[in-house]
């Protein structure tokens, strides 16, 4: 890691590079994140999970500068201090199936050095309540559904009200009611905490995030507010009655019309019947991450 610069942002990243062998997953990422929810978007393989694992101190970056809560995760003592104040929900978390929900959170609370037994148990109960698992607290994890396990992972990340909360695909497997509950919970935490949410669920980003970072091939392709991202898509989203033909990203809507995306610098070949429409966040995301990979 290079020499640190002075920063007050809870998450400070400069020129972060990570390689798996010869494959570059992150290629010079620059970010400063503060309290609030930041949505991390990008195609599969764009580097979202690698970036989150670096931020979670689970993975050491190959190069670049990283400061979390003003500390250097490259130093063991500072890394431990960071981990006391950090919550992380990995993608597809796995558990010890023979543990109960309460037992697992209690075990995680010991690993997080959360107080004596009573205080720890109170914190475990509070977080089981928060994710709606209080009634299943004494159920073995192998008897919980996928959505319940996902909520258990979330409860584990929330233990101790972390100042930096990193969530990798947190809403996978949650039903609509639980997703609304999740959004309320994260919004509440984000008043004081820095929350980074990696997801493919654009509606979660629209509902929760004050800031969006799009990664493409390990680099930051966009960094701004959701409105700024949508603004970029203006003039590139259309609707027409029939399919515009090969070479466009287009998909059929429920009313039978086609939604068409044209990237910047590409003029529509067949303008007949193309009507400009207000772009959505999803349109903007597809345009920023490369329409050639979008829906056809």
């Amino acid at each position: 890691m290079t020499t640190a610069t002075t920063t007050t942002a809870p998450v400070h990243v400069r020129g972060l590079v990570h390689r798996y062998g010869t494959h570059g997953a992150l290629d010079g990422v620059d970010l400063d994140l503060g309290p609030g929810v930041t949505g991390l978007l990008g195609r599969n393989g764009a580097g979202k999970t690698t970036l989150l694992r670096c931020l979670a101190t689970d993975l050491e970056a190959t190069n670049g500068e990283l400061r979390l809560l003003g500390r250097d995760p490259g130093r063991a003592a500072e890394r431990t201090e960071i981990r006391r104040r950090l919550g992380y929900l990995p993608q597809n978390p796995e558990f010890y199936p023979y543990f109960t929900a309460f037992g697992l959170l209690d075990y995680m609370a010991v690993l997080k050095e959360l107080g004596g037994r009573r205080a720890r148990h109170d914190e475990v109960r509070r977080n089981l309540d928060r994710v709606g698992l209080h009634d299943r607290r004494h159920s073995r994890i192998r008897r919980l559904s996928g959505g319940m396990r996902q909520r258990l992972g979330l409860a584990s990340a929330l233990l101790g009200d972390p100042e930096v909360l990193l969530l990798d695909e947190p809403t996978i497997g949650l039903d609509p009611e639980q997703r609304i509950r999740f959004r309320g919970l994260v919004s509440e935490l984000a008043v004081h905490s820095t929350v980074v949410l990696s997801t493919h669920q654009i509606e979660d980003v629209a509902a929760l995030c004050q800031r969006v970072v799009c990664l493409d091939a390990g680099r930051v392709a966009f960094d701004g507010t959701p409105d700024e991202l949508v603004d970029r898509a203006r003039g590139h989203v259309w609707e027409r009655d029939g399919h515009p033909g090969e070479g466009y990203t287009a998909w059929r809507l429920a009313d039978g019309r086609y939604r068409v995306l044209t990237p910047a610098g590409v003029a529509p070949g067949d303008t007949d019947g193309l009507e400009p429409v207000e772009p959505s966040l999803e349109d903007a995301y597809l345009l920023i991450t490369g329409v050639e990979e979008g829906r056809r």
């Binding site: 992380y88 010890y96 209690d106």
Partner: protein, 266 residues
């Protein structure tokens, strides 16, 4: 009971001035009479604290036998929990260890040069346990636990202890039952090589995955013994003779020094 408490009776009872018969009568009455209960002053904070404590006792998860045993031996509650909660593969390893050691014991008693099997496996048994104790790929919840303050060396050493104690106990028990074991000192010929291999794998885990480090050292041990077994000029037992034990002890001290240095400089 047809009567109700007067404010004077409630005051007498609350200040412990009611006689024993009246106090018992009042207690029986207020258990089912809310208005009379309300006449008595209540310490709400104390009640809340008591209720929380009661709730915690009733609602806390039941401790497993290992955790309860460690706690009864005076170990801190959190440490006992961490030592008892080992990855799922640990149980499979324990079963496999019992089976392998039982086979080694049978071989030692019923086959010519059968004790050689125990010589081969005893130092590898703790090593196999350590290989399965910590890290990605062997610990299902590693992605959750690896970013906690106790992760890394502290959890690694705790898990190693959790493996070493049963492994060494089992190996020592079997070695005492070997036909060649006349004294506990002679029966412990395998101990220093076993500890040295474990310490070696912990040192190597700084650079490579713990499982890979343990596997590499285990294979090295078995290859060395096999080569000596087929050689005309050497025998596997030479690795365990008193002269060799001095070398094992030296290597163990050096490796423990390296581990200590690693912990201090971390």
């Amino acid at each position: 009971m047809s009567w109700h408490l007067t404010p004077a009776q409630a005051h007498e009872y609350a200040h412990h001035r009611a006689d024993e018969v009246t106090a018992m009568s009042v207690e029986a009455h207020i258990t089912h009479c809310a208005p009379c209960r309300d006449l008595l002053p209540a310490d709400e904070d104390w009640l809340a604290r008591s209720w929380e404590e009661l709730r915690d006792v009733v609602d806390r998860p039941r401790r497993g036998p290992v955790e309860a045993l460690l706690a009864s031996l005076g170990m801190r509650e959190g440490t006992a929990k961490l030592l008892a909660a080992t990855p799922a593969l640990y149980r499979s390893w324990l079963l496999a260890t019992v089976a392998v050691l039982a086979a080694a014991l049978l071989a030692a008693h019923h086959l010519p040069r059968g004790s050689l099997m125990f010589v081969f496996v005893a130092p590898v048994v703790p090593l196999a346990g350590v290989a399965l104790a910590y890290g990605r790929g062997v610990d299902p919840a590693h992605s959750l636990t690896s970013v906690t303050p106790l992760a890394g060396q502290r959890l690694l050493f705790l898990r190693t202890c959790a493996v070493l104690v049963p492994a060494l106990t089992l190996c020592m028990s079997v070695s005492l039952l070997l036909p060649s074991a006349h004294t506990p000192g002679r029966a412990a010929f395998w101990l220093l090589p076993a500890l040295t291999l474990v310490a070696g794998s912990l040192v190597l885990s700084r650079w490579i995955h713990l499982s890979a480090a343990s596997a590499a050292l285990g294979v090295l041990w078995l290859v060395a013994l096999s080569v000596m077994a087929v050689s005309e000029h050497a025998a596997p037992i030479q690795l365990l003779l008193p002269q060799a034990q001095v070398w094992w002890a030296g290597a163990l001290v050096a490796l423990l020094g390296a581990i200590l240095l690693r912990v201090r400089t971390a």
